[in-house]
């Protein structure tokens, strides 16, 4: 069985701040990493590789040159090989273009029985890429996957649909959106990451995907960020002083005053 996991190199979302004075989002010089949700997808795939007899596992990483380190970390989790797709198109707000480039990358590497994605990405939170990819590759899409059991020609997956846990079976090949509650991703050690040699990480230029430099515009989904504003809600910010008992009594009094008790 061949598995390809799609993963994204992102800015650590917990470090991103809104700069009130400048009226902009501060994104520069922040730590980067694998999108958390993609680590769940890689973990699910690595488990399949460990359980199966002949499973080939590759990671396709989105995020430009800066993502090499992130890609090695992804491969160190247990993949056979990783590919970095040349960047310039990884706009978090245009999942349609992302899916179009990924579909070409998957075809360029050699198709897989299972294509696995995190349910959302840590930058865009769109939840669209996996389904759009399945449509482009003309195959079923199962999500949000919390349980997985691949067979010879089919895959069986349990989906968490909120009010119901549904187990379904569909023919391979197929695309899966992995839910973050499915597993706890392993953290590769520094040594494991160092051991990922150059021959296990490759680069896919846009030309490798049959794309001319100007063709990225043609793949665009037509979505652009037109404006940004603060999302903060103004709060009173009243600090209640004193020892625990005193502060607790003050809070209860304040909440009564507010009429919420």
């Amino acid at each position: 069985m061949r598995i390809i996991v799609c993963a994204k190199h992102v800015t650590d979302s917990t470090e991103i701040r809104w700069d009130d004075e400048r009226g902009e989002v501060v994104l520069r010089n922040l730590p980067t990493k694998i999108s958390d949700y993609d680590r769940n997808a890689i973990e699910a795939a690595v488990v399949l590789k460990e359980q199966g007899d002949d499973v080939e596992l590759e990671v396709v990483m989105v995020g430009g040159e800066a993502a090499v380190k992130t890609l090695k970390e992804a491969v160190a989790m247990g993949a056979d090989k990783g590919y970095l797709v040349e960047g310039g198109w990884d706009d978090p707000f245009d999942p349609v273009r992302g899916a179009r480039v990924l579909a070409r990358a998957i075809e360029a590497i050699d198709d897989a029985d299972l294509v696995m994605c995190g349910l959302v990405s840590e930058d865009g939170y769109n939840g669209i890429t996996g389904a759009a990819l399945a449509q482009l590759l003309e195959r079923p899409y199962l999500a949000p996957v919390v349980g997985l059991e691949p067979g010879e020609e089919t895959v069986r997956a349990t989906l968490d649909l909120g009010d119901v846990l549904r187990t379904v079976e569909t023919p391979l090949p197929c695309v899966l959106g992995i839910d973050s509650s499915m597993n706890v991703p392993r953290l590769p050690t520094v040594l494991q990451v160092m051991k990922v040699k150059g021959d296990r990480v490759g680069t896919l230029k846009l030309a490798d995907l049959g794309l001319a430099p100007g063709a990225l515009g043609e793949l665009a989904g037509g979505v652009e960020l037109a404006g940004l504003g603060s999302s903060a809600v103004e709060r009173k910010r009243i600090v209640l002083e004193g020892a625990a008992e005193e502060a607790a009594a003050a809070l209860v009094a304040a909440l009564k005053e507010e009429g919420v008790l």
Binding site: V25, I128, A247
Partner: protein, 321 residues
């Protein structure tokens, strides 16, 4: 100009929400609500017969397109039904967020060559007739405006509230079943008993990383009981440590609250979390770190050890009643 808009959702409330968003959009001439029908029930919106759907969107939609959808709600069938309904030209498709709706939106965007936006809070039209979407971006750090410069546009709306209205039911039009080239067979199905209602709770007490171990969460229970509150939590508790199920998660990847009182215990207040508590009327926080972001995003703050403050709060509440 979004002259013709198709709306659909997995439940009646969601359908009313997207139908209202479409009806109130500048330049809209026709709103069509697509309902996927099953063997004897409506699959989407669920728990309603087709005539109930027609009543629910009365005054908002011009017609209900009833389309056979098979045995269970599937995103691929839904996308195919929407694609067929869109034949002849559509300017926008509005869907309410749900797992199957995300699949439908992703597939439909490719099939129609559409612009696609998720998590839409509000959609308007600019001077050139392009759709402008307001949504939270960068994990809730900022409010963004996306311009969808291509027609048709597919918009996936975040959960929202829409009041029922009195109006004549929309007429119903039967459509043919769409075809999907593969089977997705249901092998087993377990209903998950819903015991947690964070969006609807009037008071929410939420726990975060300030609790040092899973067992310590029990400390919050008497406070939850004293306030007659629902228990919520931050992302590390549900997703990293898995001390509580994800249904208790408040924030971007969990529930958004509309409570009168939100009490955050040992929660630092990462933006992903703050996004989920914007709708709370009063936010109180217990946190011993004066630099924690929650401090700037709360109405009342106790800067002290939560292990001491919680029993004191329980005592203060007990004394008050």
């Amino acid at each position: 100009m979004a002259a013709r808009v198709i709306v659909s959702a997995a439940d009646v409330a969601g359908l009313r929400r997207v139908a209202e968003a479409a009806r109130t959009l500048d330049g809209v001439e026709r709103v069509e609500a697509l309902a996927l029908t099953g063997d004897d029930v409506v699959l989407a919106p669920a728990a309603a017969a087709v005539d109930e759907v027609a009543t629910a969107v009365g005054g908002l939609a011009d017609v209900v397109l009833a389309c056979p959808g098979g045995g269970a709600l599937r995103g691929d069938v839904w996308a195919a039904a929407l694609q067929e309904a869109a034949a002849g030209g559509v300017d926008a498709v509005f869907l309410a967020d749900a797992p199957a709706a995300r699949e439908a939106a992703g597939r439909l965007s490719i099939a129609l060559g559409a612009a696609c936006a998720s998590m839409c809070d509000e959609v308007t039209v600019d001077g050139d007739g392009a759709l402008l979407v307001r949504r939270s971006v960068y994990g809730g750090v900022a409010a963004g405006t996306l311009r969808l410069g291509r027609s048709p546009a597919v918009c996936l709306f975040a959960a929202g509230v829409c009041e029922a209205a009195e109006a004549a039911p929309a007429p119903i039009e039967q459509r043919a079943a769409p075809a999907v080239p593969w089977d997705v067979v249901i092998v087993a199905e377990d209903t998950v008993e819903k015991t947690v209602d964070l969006p609807g709770a009037r008071r929410v007490v939420s726990v975060g990383r300030g609790f040092q171990k899973a067992d310590d969460l029990a400390l919050a229970q008497p406070l939850v009981a004293a306030l007659d509150a629902e228990l919520g939590c931050s992302r590390p508790i549900a997703e990293d440590f898995k001390w509580l199920p994800k249904e208790r998660l408040v924030g971007l990847t969990g529930s958004s609250v509309t409570a009168d009182l939100y009490l955050a215990l040992g929660i630092s207040g990462q933006v992903q979390h703050l996004t989920g508590i914007k709708g709370a009327r009063v936010v109180a926080a217990v946190n011993n770190d004066p630099k924690a972001p929650i401090v700037r995003n709360a109405d009342y703050i106790i800067q002290a050890d939560l292990y001491k403050v919680i029993p004191a709060l329980v005592a203060a509440l007990g004394g008050a009643s």
